[in-house]
Structures are given as C-alpha cells and as structure tokens.
C-alpha cells in the first residue's frame, strides 16, 4: 500500500499547540530532539521509508483494519449507526504497533541500534519489543513494579521477544514512573539510544510524530466510510483517551476540516470511580494545566505541583496527563472530552461481547459506552465511528476478577509466575 504521512497545521515551529506542548526537558536532550525532528522530517519525505512502512503496515500489521457496522449494537442503542474501526485486528492486538514500527524504522534510519520504551499495561512494551525483534534492535522496556505484577504474561512476551524488561520501583511504580525512568535512560545514553515513546505525549516532536504515525487510522476510515455510506466523514467519532494516541489517530484527519464539515470528535476519559471521588484518570475533567514528561498539558496534580497518581480499571488509560494536541482541541472546541467510569466501561465491554462477539480492551470499552448513549442522541440518520483501539484478551483475567467468577486470581498469577520462572530461568 502506498503510504503518505500527513502534514497538519499544528504544532507551530516551537512544538506548541496553542499554549500546550513544548519541550520541558533537561538541556541534555534538546540536541537529541532536534536530531530526531530533522530525521523524522527527512524520513517523511523519503519514498523508501514510506514504502517500507507501508509494506509493514500491510504485511506485518494486517492493515487496513476493517470498518465494521455493529448492527446488533446499533439495534440495541436504537439510534445512529455505530461503526467500529477494528484496530483490535492489528498484530499484537492494538493500535500501538503502528507507531512502534514507524519509530523503530526511524531508529534504524538514524543508525541507533538500541531502543528503549516505557509501558504500563504492556501493550506498548510488547509492540516495541516486537518491532525491535523484527528489525534486529536491542530493546529495553521500563515497566513499573506494580504493573509487572499485574501483567506477568506481557512481561513474559517481551522477554520471549528478546527485550530486557527493567522493573521501576520509584514513585508509584506505574506508567508515569516507567516514563520517567525511560527518559532518564535516554538522558544518560542519548548518543546511541532511540526512545520509542508510546503516546502523543512527551517533548516535541513526539506528540506530532506519534500522531502522524497513527493518522493511518483516520485516513483509512475516510476511504472505508465513503464506500459504505457515500461520505467520508461520519457525524461523530468516539475514541478513548489516556495519553491519547488512538484518539488522535482517528481525530486528526478530520480535526482540521472547516467547522461545517467536521464531525463531532469525542474523547472518553477514564473517570475511574468517578471524577468527584479523586480516584480517576480524567486529566481534562479533573486536572489543571501543568508540565509532565516534557510537555505542557492538562494534568492531575495538587496545588503544590505534585503529580497525583491516576486510577483506572484499564491500565492503558492510567496516565496523569493527556496529549497537548487534545488539550488544544478541547480549548478551541474542535473536540469534546467526556468522563466514563470503570463501571460503565465494564458494562460496555460485556454489552459489545454479548451483542457482537467482540471482546474489546477495557480502554476501548470506554468509547463504546459513550457511543451507545450518543447513538440515541443523534437518532437513526446519524453515523458514528468508534475507534476500537484494542482487543480484550489482556483484560480477560481482570474482568473475571471484577465480575467475581469462581477462578481464584491469585492462583492464576501464581501459575503464570511459575511458568515464567521455569522458562526464563
């Protein structure tokens, strides 16, 4: 497939989306970010790079992913047609692989043989380890001790793929701390290491670069929807947002259309136990403007500037900030962001599974929940596209625990740990 990487009017020359974004990093990294930006711009214009990425998207990832009319879900909701963009079809099970392959190719192009990545649930770590294995790169993945405990299978997958998984015990031992540790590694080994950042966060050019690599999602929807609906833009697009990469991937190709032609773009934030409870990951609804991991964005932090640990049922949305471009979309009214709770996501996961035979990732279930509500609001003439960013395999054990089925979760963990010990030892 011939691939072109898009060019959008944002960010400005300083890596800003309005007041958001930027490069709040130790000075050590500034030359590396300059180098990355230059290499990315050159790659973007190089047919060889684009052809190779296009080939991998097609042959390795399995793109284009289907656009699927969820008829029974549509009937259940009783309103607009609900289409699912099936990123859960991608190799490794989520949208993350798009960005990992592209960045790993860029690393090869830049002559960097060592790549590092951060991961929460393990999706981005597995995708990075996969890309590294494919391209013969050394890979180190930073993962919080807490997440390692919860995601033993993904840890094993990464090791099987040849990656080194480094346990992070600082701070809250979760994704934000793994990101800190990856950045510290990069600061230390900046001359020979490429940092594969997993979302539309971090210092410029990462939010723009990751967006461009994920924009294939929205670009495909345009073509696919034209075929089935006779128009390239739906009435609304719904996607979950943690850092926000799957959402940007489907929003960006529509976000810069004139207001009359632009569909409603709706990001669903993880409201955990409710925005009022304080136990959530809804940076937009419950945060304030601040700086984390090199970027100005909406952020969960207290009035002294300390980062407040996020909470969500889905590890992939468990990030205290949200990408700067989303912040700018929100501030300029290009997109809306709504909170969806743990309980609502769990309900939507079961609903989609029962009605369509599709087990979505808990992350994506946040978007499904809102789409069902929105379908009623839009009525039968409307068309909604939901970005089904990942499949639910990784969450089945957690869902089982949450739904209090018989199987003892501790036993399951112990089994997995025993297997890992036997194989890795």
């Amino acid at each position: 497939m011939s691939l072109t990487l898009p060019s959008y009017p944002q960010p400005d020359g300083r890596g800003r989306y309005g007041r958001f974004g930027g490069r709040y990093v130790p000075e050590t990294l500034i030359p590396a970010l300059d180098e990355l930006e230059a290499a990315y711009q050159a790659a973007k214009a190089d047919p060889a790079f684009l052809n190779e990425l296009g080939r991998l998207f097609k042959e390795f990832v399995g793109r284009p992913s289907p656009l699927y009319l969820a008829q029974r879900l549509t009937d259940h909701a009783g309103g607009a047609k609900i289409y699912l963009k099936r990123e859960d079809f991608n190799y490794t099970g989520a949208h993350k692989i798009n960005n990992c392959l592209a960045q790993a190719l860029l690393a090869v192009r830049m002559g960097k043989r060592r790549v590092i990545a951060e991961t929460g649930a393990g999706q981005h770590g597995v995708a990075s380890a996969t890309a590294a294995a494919l391209l013969g790169l050394d890979c180190v993945v930073y993962m919080g001790a807490e997440d390692i405990r919860r995601q033993a299978l993904n840890v094993f997958r990464m090791r099987l793929l040849g990656a080194e998984v480094r346990e992070v015990t600082s701070g809250t031992s979760t994704l934000k701390d793994a990101t800190n540790e990856a950045i510290r590694d990069w600061v230390t080994n900046v001359r020979d290491t490429f940092y594969i950042l997993g979302s539309v966060v971090g210092p410029h050019p990462y939010p723009a670069m990751v967006r461009d690599f994920q924009a294939v999602i929205g670009e495909e929807v345009k073509v696919q929807l034209q075929v089935v609906e006779g128009r390239s833009a739906p009435d609304a697009i719904v996607a979950c947002v943690g850092g926000g990469s799957n959402a940007i991937g489907i929003f960006a190709p529509y976000a810069y259309l004139p207001e009359g032609e632009r569909p409603r773009l709706i990001g669903t934030e993880a409201a955990g136990e409710g925005v009022e409870s304080g136990r959530h990951a809804a940076s937009m609804a419950g945060g304030r403007v601040g700086v984390l991991h090199g970027s100005m964005m909406y952020l969960l932090n207290d009035d002294e500037g300390q980062i407040v640990p996020p909470h969500s049922i889905s590890a992939g949305l468990d990030y205290p900030g949200i990408g700067p471009e989303h912040c700018h979309y929100s501030e300029t009214g290009v997109a809306e962001y709504v909170p969806v709770t743990d309980a609502q996501a769990l309900e939507a996961l079961q609903l989609l599974t029962r009605l369509e035979g599709i087990i979505p990732a808990l992350e994506s279930a946040h978007a499904v929940y809102h789409a069902v509500r929105l379908a009623q609001e839009l009525g039968p003439e409307g068309v909604i596209v939901v970005n089904l960013s990942g499949r639910g395999d990784k969450d089945v054990a957690e869902v089982m625990r949450l739904l209090e089925m018989e199987r003892d979760q501790d036993l399951l963990d112990k089994d997995v740990e025993r297997v890992i010990e036997e194989v890795v030892a």
Binding site: P26, T28, R184, T188, R288, V291, H293, G305
Partner: protein
C-alpha cells in the same frame, strides 16, 4: 536580553568572587528540603553552611526527571514527611534568619505553574531566596518565569550539558543571571563509580566563550578528589547526592563537607 542585575544575582556573584579571591572554586552543597525530615533538615543544612559559599535547596518533587535514585528517594521521603513546595520556602525562610549565605532553590517547573508563577516568586522573595535553578526548563520555553524572577529580585540559572551545541550554549548562557550550571555528564544526578568528568573541560571552554556569569559544575562530584578535578576549571562545584547518602547512612556530614570544601582549593 540583558537583565539589570537583581539583588539575588549580585549576592550570588559576590559569593563566587570571594571564593575566587581566596584561590577556591565556590563550594555549593545541595540538600533536598525536608530531608531526612522537616525537623532534622535545619541541623543538616547548618552543618553544610559552615563550609559553603552558596547553598542549593531542592524542592521535593514527585517526578524528578533529571535526578538519579538518591535524590528521588530523598524527595519521596521529604514529601511523605509533608514537605512540598510552600513548606520548602518556609524552611528556607527559617534558614534565612540564621544565615546570610546565598541560597538558590532548585525546582522542577510544574510546582511553579501549580502555585502560580507570580505567587511562587513572591514566596521566594519573601523567604529570602537569591536565585532559582530550573533543571527541566530550557530558557526558550518560558520567558515569563525569568522576567517574574527578575521582578522579584531573584537570579535564574539554567543548565548546559556535554551534548549542548555552541548555539544552545549561547542561548542558555545569555539567559542565566546568577550562574551557569554545567552538567558534567550525559545523565542524571548522583554519585558515580570512578570519575566521569572527561567531558567537563571541553564544555567549560565553550561555556566560557559565552557566559557573562560564573560557571558551576555538578552531577557526579562526590568527594574531595572529584571536587578538585572540577575546581581547576570551574568557578563553582555543586555536590548533592553524596551528602544525601551521608545523611542516610548516618555518616558525619560536617567531615565530608569540610573535605570537599578543601578539595575546592585550586
């Protein structure tokens, strides 16, 4: 941009000048505020100040990107003990009542935004802070912070690294009003095995071309020997993690400070 010299900058420059006249690089110990506890912190700092030309106090932060494990753990402990942004400035205010040594506050940028830049500077001025060190704020990212600092009589210090290009060094050096902070290695703070100061001379040479303020070196300076290595080329020597380690392991901080201060003699 040439800022008029603020009171904080004058006091910082004077401390460097005094050390130079005495044939020394200025010795600048660092300590995380509220470490090992808010109650014990003043005594630790009193000990350091007996040997210091300037003092650097770190605001504990939950996500200190530029710091290694030693400062991270100290920050976590200080935060757990209730020392955050405003409390740090209250602790500095208490120090000010007993000491005249210039005090610079090291802070990541998010606490400044959370408190509000103007309010933050007001609190600093009120506490008797002379300057700020901003490890995750390249000067071209926010011009307001430097201006507000100047308005409140505070100096600002930004960092350069061994990877910094001549263009970046010029930009950063121009923005510094207190001193220029040269990071000895590509990496984060922390005492290191052996000596990793090989990149310092070339970086210093570049810094001297552009800096109109004193140049201090930090990261990985941990004892008299490494301090002496740095003192030969730099105007100032910053030592942090070694003191935190000493406090944690119950060693005599005064003895270590005295020996490093001695190492700063040229």
């Amino acid at each position: 941009m040439t800022a008029t010299l603020t009171r904080g900058a004058e006091r910082i420059h004077a401390a460097f000048d005094r050390a130079k006249e005495e044939g020394r690089a200025a010795f600048m110990p660092f300590m995380t505020a509220g470490y090992p506890s808010a109650e014990e912190f003043p005594a630790v700092v009193d000990t350091l100040l007996a040997h210091a030309d300037l003092l650097e106090v770190g605001i504990p932060y939950s996500d200190p990107l530029g710091d290694g494990p030693t400062v991270q753990r100290a920050s976590e402990q200080a935060l757990a003990g209730g020392t955050s942004t405003r409390r740090t400035l209250a602790l500095v205010k208490d120090l000010r009542e007993r000491h005249d040594t210039p005090i610079v506050v090291m802070t990541y940028v998010n606490p400044i935004y959370a408190v509000g830049p103007r309010e933050f500077m007001r609190l600093c001025k009120d506490a008797g802070v002379d300057g700020l060190i901003l490890p995750d704020l390249p000067p071209d990212q926010d011009l307001e912070i430097a201006d507000l600092a100047a308005e409140h009589g505070l100096a600002v210090t930004f960092l350069i690294a061994p990877t910094s290009t001549p263009g970046r060094v010029r930009l950063v050096a121009d923005a510094c009003t207190g001193f220029l902070y040269a990071v000895s290695v590509t990496g984060v703070t922390g005492a290191r095995e052996g000596s990793a100061l090989g990149e310092v001379p070339a970086m210093l040479a570049l810094a001297r071309e552009h800096a109109r303020v004193p140049v201090a070196v930090g990261f990985g300076v941990k004892d008299a020997a490494t301090a002496h290595q740095v003192a030969r080329v730099a105007d100032g020597v910053v030592v942090g993690s070694a003191f935190i380690n000493a406090v944690r392991e119950g060693q005599d901080v005064g003895t270590l400070a005295a020996s490093i201060a001695e190492g700063c003699r040229r």
